[in-house]
């Protein structure tokens, strides 16, 4: 008879994005943007209405530099954060 006293498994997390790397900084989504030290919660992803994902920090920088109307760096559509 085997009794289980504790199971300590290992998992890895991943962003469920279609792409591997961020189109702006070319770093992996599962990594972090160049300004961040820690991945995951500290450096989240954000999706646009066009369904393109970027590091939040990357796209914010991009959006703030694009006045008056920001576009998605990938498809050139008007950038809007996905609801």
């Amino acid at each position: 008879m085997v009794r289980n006293l504790g199971w300590h498994p290992v998992a890895s997390w991943t962003w469920d994005a279609q792409d591997e790397t961020c189109g702006i900084c070319r770093m992996a989504f599962d990594g972090c943007c160049p300004d961040c030290k820690f991945p995951g919660d500290d450096c989240p992803l954000i999706w646009g209405a066009c369904n393109h994902a970027f590091h939040l920090h990357c796209i914010l920088k991009w959006v703030n530099s694009q006045t008056p109307q920001p576009h998605c760096p990938m498809c050139r559509r008007e950038w809007q954060f996905k609801g």
Binding site: M1, V2, R3, N4, L5, G6, W7, H8, P9, V10, A11, S12, W13, T14, W15, D16, A17, A28, D30, G31, K37, F38, P39, G40, D41, L45
Partner: protein, 885 residues
């Protein structure tokens, strides 16, 4: 022409007179030498000498007289003198094992025969004096008294020269040996006498010490004190010393000055050497230099003082004017006229003796340096002694050469474990840093060690273990556990920082001046290409990193080890890892440790996330029945950011359904909390705590999931064939066979050959008898905590990573070799460096390339001939380079 003219001018009368005088001269000489020289003969002698001189035959007279003296000396003195020592021809060969009586006998023989020959010499000198008188009276008659002094000196020095040359040409080969033995034995006798005194008079000695290095003005007073002290002490030894002194003086008068000095110097040095060996021995735990110095003061210097004193001022005068002045001797006589002459000789002797003592001790210590360094922290007194000796003698290169050769012979061999080599290396660094703070010699010695270590595969691993793991590595020092090398280094660094805080900022003038005064030039052996600034950085960690080549490799290795450790944790306790990481950050910089920090951060996050997820799951699951296997409370997951971890080996594994269900619930909940992030389980990783319950006992294990999966299969059926079991848990058969051996070794399962040759049958062992027989478990309830230690790591090792990274270049290399036919290793390396600049850029070391290529050679893709690499014939067939496009 002129001479012949003079001959012609001689009248017969003159010739007759000359002949007559000559005959008279010859017979007189003979008479005198026979010792019957009374007044009448002497006056006759004077008359004939004057007569001959008047005819200008002065030179002939002198030459003849000396010649006669020589013949007489040879006949009467020399042969008899040597005959005395004839018996000791063999005795000197077997000096050690002859009876004491003979020893004393030959001491007295030496004294007596020396006395005898000296008497002979004195007599001859007296004869010579008669001739000198005769010549003087001739010169007085010519009223040229001015020249006489010189003439006398000249004659006597010619005589002295004759005596010593006669003796030296007939010198038997064993005579110096006899002298040496004589001095050695008398000295030993003396030293035992003096040693007794020294023991008694230790307190006085303390005050009356020579202090040559310090203020010279004091020296005079101290010498005076010394003199009194010596006089008091030497009374008892006077007789012995006087004997020796007499022998020395006799030998000196015979022209054996240098031989005598050699003999007693070598005797003293021999004595000193024995003393040093006695004192130093094989004990490295106490300093010996001071006691050696005291002994020099107490014994040999006292003897020399007495000897020089006995011989009188002539010694000091002799040595001072001889031009043989040792460079070691300062010239106090000219600078400080107050100091008496013997003490100058004494000072020179002291310097000589101390130098010799230093050199002997240094040689002794250098010969044993390896052992000394093996028990380094305990043997630091010996190192300190050696340092002082080397400062005095400056023979650092001797140390380097001898130490390197003993390293080669004893440490850098296949039999020594890498850990031992590394520990010896660290001790060497510490010890040599004491001896030579500039680090030049350390560089020379360290080079072969690090060169050798570079060739070992497990070096990096051992270094990392040594740095981070307190207990690991110290194979022979059980008392030394607890502190890792890194902690020690950090402590040192902290101390240093305290010592010279504010290095660059508030450095005032006084501090700057002190720093400037402390500056020392680099030793002569220093390599001028390396600036001293670089060399001064002597941190142990830096030298460790130097072995590996770059800190990146070290950090990488640490990362792999850290990953392994973290993945096998069953709790989230990482305090010690955090501490180590902080220390590493200090040394390697924050940026290079970034990935490790993320790994630790993952564990901290996991703990938090785990609590969150479990809390929310328990709320929603309340009321629903738990399955047979496992409750949520038992599950604690580690969630990693896989991008920052070393590549992880993922193997498929079917874990028990209940657990699997729980895991997917857990993952779903994670997805809900952390949208849009997902969890990917690495089912083969982690740890499982199990309790095996048998009828009569329970046993606990902590194992890898695969082991748990295996043993859980035996709950449903107690016998499995390996093929079926492998299919059930979803792993390849060979993997199963490897993993299941864990349970077999614990006596839980038994293995039997199956029906087919490659099949095995495993059965659950369920009775006590079997397990007792196995001897593994014999208690009824025993708790075992076993961590999987089969070396089946969950993380790809650095070598595997490297192999993976290098495979990219395989095509390049094969292409190059096809085009060029053959290439040398470094050419391949350089070409890759030049052309592979795009992603992934070629950044491997020559060594890494070499190990990769040797892998290709063992796969028979390449072959190595005369240091050139070729593509094997076999492979050429398979390579089809695209011709078109």
């Amino acid at each position: 022409m002129e001479n012949l003219g003079i001959l012609d001018s001689l009248s017969d009368e003159c010739i007759d007179e000359i002949l007559q005088s000559w005959n008279g001269y010859c017979s007189c000489t003979e008479e005198i030498l026979k010792g019957k020289g009374d007044l009448s003969i002497e006056s006759e002698f004077v008359a004939v000498v004057i007569a001959l001189c008047r005819h200008g035959l002065e030179g002939l007279v002198k030459d003849h007289f000396l010649q006669v003296l020589e013949v007489a000396f040879k006949e009467n003195g020399v042969s008899k003198f040597w005959q005395h020592f004839h018996d000791y021809c063999d005795a000197s060969m077997m000096a050690s094992n002859k009876p004491l009586q003979i020893q004393e006998n030959y001491q007295s023989v030496l004294c007596e025969s020396l006395e005898e020959i000296c008497l002979q010499k004195q007599f001859q000198e007296k004869c010579l004096l008669i001739l000198v008188h005769a010549l003087q009276s001739y010169e007085e008659s010519l009223m040229e008294s001015k020249k006489s002094e010189v003439e006398t000196d000249n004659l006597f020095s010619r005589y002295q020269l004759m005596v010593s040359s006669v003796l030296l040409t007939t010198l038997p080969r064993h005579f110096p040996e006899i002298l040496r033995l004589y001095f050695k034995e008398s000295l030993e006798e003396l030293s035992t006498m003096m040693a007794e005194e020294y023991e008694g008079g230790n307190e006085i000695q303390g005050e009356g010490n020579f202090d040559l290095d310090e203020g010279e003005s004091l020296t005079k007073i101290e010498v005076d004190i010394d003199k009194r002290y010596y006089e008091m002490n030497t009374v008892r030894n006077t007789k012995l010393v006087r004997n020796i002194g007499k022998v020395v003086r006799d030998l000196r008068s015979l022209g054996f000055t240098s031989m005598t000095e050699d003999a007693y110097a070598s005797a003293i040095f021999f004595l000193l050497k024995t003393k040093v060996h006695d004192l130093a021995g094989d004990d490295y735990r106490s300093p010996v230099l001071e006691s050696i110095r005291e002994w020099i003061q107490a014994v040999p210097l006292q003897f020399l003082y007495a000897l020089l004193d006995y011989l009188g001022d002539s010694v000091g005068y002799d040595t001072a004017s001889s031009g043989l002045k040792s460079p070691l001797a300062s010239c106090p006589s000219s600078c400080y006229p107050g100091i008496s002459i013997p003490s100058e000789g004494l000072i020179r002797w002291q310097l000589r003796l101390e130098y010799f003592a230093y050199e002997t001790l240094q040689d002794l210590r250098i010969g044993k340096l390896f052992e000394i360094i093996v028990d380094y922290p305990d043997s630091s007194p010996a190192i300190e002694d050696l340092k002082q000796c080397l400062e005095y003698t400056g023979q650092h290169s001797k140390l380097v050469d001898s130490f390197i050769s003993s390293l080669r012979f004893r440490l850098l061999t296949a039999g020594a474990s890498t850990n031992d080599i590394l520990h010896q290396y660290v001790s060497t660094i510490k010890a040599l840093r004491t001896i030579d703070p500039t680090g030049v010699f350390l560089e020379a010695v360290g080079e072969p060690i690090s060169e050798y270590l570079r060739g070992r595969k497990d070096t990096i691993k051992c270094i990392v273990t040594m740095l981070t793991d307190g207990t690991g590595g110290h194979s022979n020092g059980p008392g030394n556990s607890g502190d890792s090398l890194l902690e020690e280094l950090n402590r040192d660094a902290g101390n240093q920082e305290n010592a010279d805080c504010g290095d660059d900022f508030n450095i005032d003038d006084k501090q700057a001046w002190m720093n400037a005064e402390r500056w020392e030039p680099d030793p002569v052996k220093a390599d001028p290409l390396k600036s001293s600034r670089n060399r001064r950085k002597l941190d142990i960690l830096g030298m460790m990193v130097n072995i590996i080549g770059s800190k990146d490799q070290l950090v990488n290795e640490y990362r792999v080890m850290l990953a392994e450790k973290l993945l096998n944790k069953s709790d989230y306790d990482i305090d010690s890892e955090i501490r180590t990481l902080e220390l590493l950050k200090i040394h390697f910089g924050e940026s290079s440790m970034q990935r490790c920090e993320i790994m630790l951060n993952d564990l901290i996050d996991s703990k938090r996330t785990n609590t969150n997820i479990k809390a929310s799951m328990q709320q929603s699951q309340r009321g629903t029945e738990q399955g047979e296997g496992i409750s949520l409370a038992l599950l604690d997951a580690t969630i990693i950011s896989s991008n920052f971890w070393p590549p992880i080996l993922v193997e498929s594994l079917n874990i028990p359904a209940a657990v699997d269900q729980l895991l997917s619930d857990y993952a779903r909940r994670f997805h809900e909390i952390k949208t849009p992030r997902k969890l990917l389980w690495k089912k083969n990783l982690g740890t499982v705590k199990l309790e095996l319950q048998f009828e009569d006992r329970t046993v606990q294990f902590t194992v890898a999931p695969v082991h748990a999966a295996i043993i859980m299969q035996f709950q449903e059926q107690t016998t499995w064939t390996s093929k079926n079991l492998a299919a059930a848990i979803g792993v390849p058969v060979d993997m199963l066979n490897r993993r299941i051996s864990f349970w077999i070794s614990k006596g839980i399962l038994s293995e039997m050959p199956g029906k087919e040759s490659d099949d095995h049958v495993f059965t659950l062992v369920d009775d006590m008898v079997d397990t007792n027989r196995n001897g593994v478990i014999n208690g009824t309830c025993e708790e075992l905590l076993v961590v999987d230690e089969e070396g089946e790591g969950s993380v790809a090792s650095v070598e595997e990573q490297l192999l993976k990274e290098m495979t990219v270049y395989e095509k390049f290399i094969l292409g190059m070799l096809t085009n060029f036919g053959s290439m040398a290793l470094d050419r391949i390396h350089n070409t890759l460096k030049m052309f592979c600049v795009a992603e992934p850029a070629y950044d491997k070391s020559l060594h890494q390339l070499q190990s990769f290529l040797s892998g290709l050679i063992s796969e028979e893709k390449l072959e190595l001939r005369d240091a050139f690499l070729f593509i094997t014939e076999r492979l050429k067939i398979f390579i089809h380079w695209p011709q078109e496009s």
